[in-house]
């Protein structure tokens, strides 16, 4: 266990935001509700871009158009989801640090982020060649599958985390 990281978690819990999350009557339930709703909203949208990349839905619509029309909405959801999740973390950082499902969730989030980065910096650069193709190239399909797997893991680990946060 990295002591400096645990100490950082303790400091996070001691912030006024951390105290508010733990002690206010409505702070925690409102943040959890916002976190779950924005997760359902944004992941629910991203899955459809992923399915287009995999080549199983909206195959007659160019990938770039699906991205342009759907992702701005998802980005708003992701921003609020990150803010609410980060705020929740300040209230229970040390418990989360010790929780194995939180670590799984973080790894899955990191995987989703790196996957999106690789897609945008590498795979998407040649999109003109396959934008209208019903079944995109293997690399794009893999990016779609990895994204679906990563977000599924985020949801499962997130729910497991809430059931085990205070289990020693």
């Amino acid at each position: 266990m990295a002591e400096w990281l645990f100490h950082l978690c303790e400091q996070l819990e001691a912030t006024s935001l951390g105290v508010w999350v733990r002690e206010s009557i409505y702070g925690f339930p409102i943040l959890v509700a916002v976190h779950i709703i924005t997760l359902v909203f944004s992941v629910g949208i991203v899955v459809w871009l992923d399915l287009r990349l995999v080549g199983v839905s909206m195959t007659g619509v160019p990938v770039s158009r699906v991205y342009r029309r759907l992702m701005p909405l998802a980005f708003v959801g992701f921003a609020v989801m990150t803010l609410s999740g980060g705020s929740l973390l300040t209230g229970f950082a040390t418990s989360a640090y010790k929780n194995p499902y939180f670590r799984v969730k973080l790894v899955a989030l990191l995987t989703a982020g790196v996957n999106a980065l690789v897609y945008h910096t590498n795979i998407e650069r040649r999109i003109a060649l396959w934008d209208r193709s019903p079944v995109p190239p293997t690399a794009a399909r893999m990016a779609g599958l990895i994204s679906i797997a990563a977000w599924t893991t985020v949801i499962l680990a997130g729910r497991m985390m809430s059931y085990t946060l205070y289990t020693p």
Partner: protein
């Protein structure tokens, strides 16, 4: 105790319900699967509604555009309703007495009826008609309400 209460108690004491109750991993996994099902429904209805409103493409038949989302919403319903039933199987009497759960169930019934009686036929029909756009928006709001009711149940049960 009422007849319904006795029936709920019988389900609560079944081996399936007690197995779920006694396993944190099983309960947490079912809760995650339940949320995945809801995510699939909300995402499908939202994307489909965008298609119905002409926000994705204007040059393709709407039924073709919404075919996958219609199917996915049904898969999402099967996943979330099955996992939801398993999740409440060991606490049916307590759940039935909770206001948030009652509201969620009412929203679920209304959303499901609207989904099959109004939204699905609209998603097979003509794009850009005001009624079609309205059907998409109402379906989204109803499912959003189900998720909101679920959040309230998680937090205030």
């Amino acid at each position: 105790m009422s007849g319904l209460g006795d029936f709920f108690s019988q389900i609560e004491s079944s081996s399936l319900a007690t197995t779920i109750r006694d396993s944190t991993i099983l309960t947490g996994t079912l809760s995650g699967i339940h949320l995945i099902g809801l995510t699939l429904i909300v995402g499908s209805v939202l994307v489909s509604s965008a298609g119905l409103a002409g926000l994705i493409v204007n040059d393709q038949p709407v039924a073709e555009l919404t075919r996958a989302t219609r199917r996915a919403s049904i898969v999402g319903m099967i996943i979330s309703i099955t996992s939801g039933l398993l999740l409440v199987s060991f606490r049916l009497n307590m759940s039935a007495a909770t206001q948030a759960f009652r509201i969620k169930m009412l929203m679920l019934v209304v959303a499901t009826l609207f989904h099959f009686l109004v939204y699905m036929p609209a998603a097979r029909g003509q794009r850009s008609a005001v009624a079609t756009k309205l059907a998409g928006a109402v379906a989204f709001l109803l499912w959003f309400g189900v998720v909101l009711g679920g959040c309230a149940f998680i937090l205030f049960e």
